[in-house]
């Protein structure tokens, strides 16, 4: 007897999706759509656009499951990367520019906003916050503006009034520091989401 889908690994779900198993897609949606929607909404600040991105991401998984390589990372990070790329495309389009500027104004007015508030999962949130808090301020700012603000590193350099080379180095070193810290405190940055 085969394993029920709700106990199947993410990689197993994708294999089932490649066999046109709609229930497997539903299970992947149940597990990850909330995170995908959360990221899209965070970037686009508009629920209807974020929903479109969710729809695109899961339809792409259905149409091209072979694009997901389990050897390269978890299904969650794959879906979130797809979501981020698509959201950033939308964000950078001319029609979204004005909306984005308005949202930026609103966000900067929110007291206490920082990267630490954006971590995804309560079960690892404390660990991730701890790792983020240990980052040098320059690295934290650069990653926040690039990932959650949807800015290019050149835009980040302008916003922070720093050389472009410094910003791209900080983004890379910040991500490496985060990974090392997460591993050190027991969060496996390569493991599947529950």
């Amino acid at each position: 007897m085969s394993e029920p889908l709700n106990e199947t690994s993410d990689a197993g779900l994708v294999v089932a999706i490649s066999r046109y198993n709609q229930d497997a897609l539903a299970e992947a949606y149940r597990r990850h759509a909330g995170a995908v929607f959360g990221l899209a909404k965070r970037l686009l600040a508009e629920a209807s656009l974020a929903e479109e991105v969710v729809q695109e991401v899961f339809l792409r998984l259905w149409n091209s499951p072979d694009k997901f390589d389990p050897g390269r990372g978890s299904l969650r990070s794959y879906l979130l990367a797809q979501c981020h790329g698509r959201s950033v495309d939308l964000l950078r389009s001319e029609t979204s520019r004005r909306r984005r500027e308005e949202n930026d104004l609103r966000r900067t007015a929110e007291a206490g906003y920082d990267l630490e508030r954006e971590v995804w999962d309560l079960t690892v949130a404390d660990h991730v916050r701890e790792a983020i808090a240990k980052l040098p301020e320059g690295e934290r700012q650069a990653i926040r503006l690039a990932y959650l603000g949807g800015h290019t590193y050149r835009e980040v350099a302008e916003l922070l009034d720093e050389p472009e080379g410094t910003v791209k180095s900080r983004i890379r070193s910040g991500l490496k520091h985060l990974r090392a810290d997460l591993v050190a405190i027991g969060v496996n940055a390569g493991e599947e989401a529950p």
Partner: protein, 248 residues
């Protein structure tokens, strides 16, 4: 590591966060095709970034119904080109015992059978996809494909067809490009809204060249071209196209 490699490494973090655009993005993507170290680093960065995403939301109401409404109809059972391991807990059917064969010979035969099975699956899968695309190309208006572009050489002595599905999955088929020397290869480029993107490299023996475009930008595709480059390919080409074609 070479200078060619080193010039990209500092950008990998920004690239993983979609913070690189334009020509620079195209150059990194080309480099990642041939550099497993950098590709692995990008995957690691994306894994870390996934922890920074806000996941507290519930899946939005109604989106699942819209997804189901757009799912393609059931299709042939084989689609991926690899055979997964059996699922945990799958039933094992005992083999009827008879005279026990030589274990080593049995193992060799089993491995050979598995290899043959995998090769057969790969071949069948490739054949299906290729046949499907060829069938679409054969239709007068390319029905079923989102884009069909004819590429041809300046003197009309070479040609190919670029076919792109609505998913963004593309194929360069039916090319008749001449052989190239060992240190050269062909490179396929796409023009998307005026930006030239590298879509991959191939040699004259490659029957079908697979590539991927952003499905949301297919209406911005202006054309394709193939250039002859020194291996392992070029981030940008300074050579004239061997064949070229524009969207209608």
């Amino acid at each position: 590591m070479s200078d060619y490699h080193d010039q990209y490494t500092d950008l990998l973090g920004a690239y993983a966060l979609d913070a690189v655009d334009g020509e620079e993005q195209a150059q990194i993507e080309l480099h990642l095709r041939t550099c497993p170290w950098c590709a692995a680093e990008v995957a690691e960065h994306r894994e870390v970034a996934s922890f920074l995403s806000h996941g507290g939301s519930d899946a939005p109401d109604g989106v699942w119904d819209r997804i189901v409404a757009e799912l393609s109809p059931p299709a042939p059972p084989l689609r991926m080109s690899f055979s997964p391991l059996p699922e945990r807990g799958a039933d094992v059917v005992p083999i009827e015992r008879g005279r026990r064969p030589n274990r080593v010979l049995g193992a060799v035969l089993a491995v050979a059978a598995c290899l043959l099975l995998v090769l057969a699956v790969v071949a069948v899968d490739q054949y299906r996809r290729i046949q499907s695309m060829e069938d679409q190309v054969a239709l007068p208006d390319g029905a079923g494909a989102a884009l069909v572009v004819e590429l041809s050489g300046e003197e009309g002595n070479s040609g190919a067809k670029a076919v792109v599905e609505r998913s963004g999955q593309g194929f360069l088929v039916s090319h008749d490009l001449p052989d190239v020397s060992d240190d050269e290869l062909y490179q396929l480029w796409g023009n998307v809204d005026g930006v030239i993107l590298s879509l991959g490299t191939f040699d004259s023996a490659t029957d079908v060249v697979n590539f991927q475009l952003d499905p949301s930008r297919l209406d911005q595709v202006e054309g394709f071209m193939v250039t002859l480059e020194k291996a392992p390919g070029a981030p940008t080409s300074e050579h004239p196209p061997v064949i070229i074609g524009a969207t209608a």
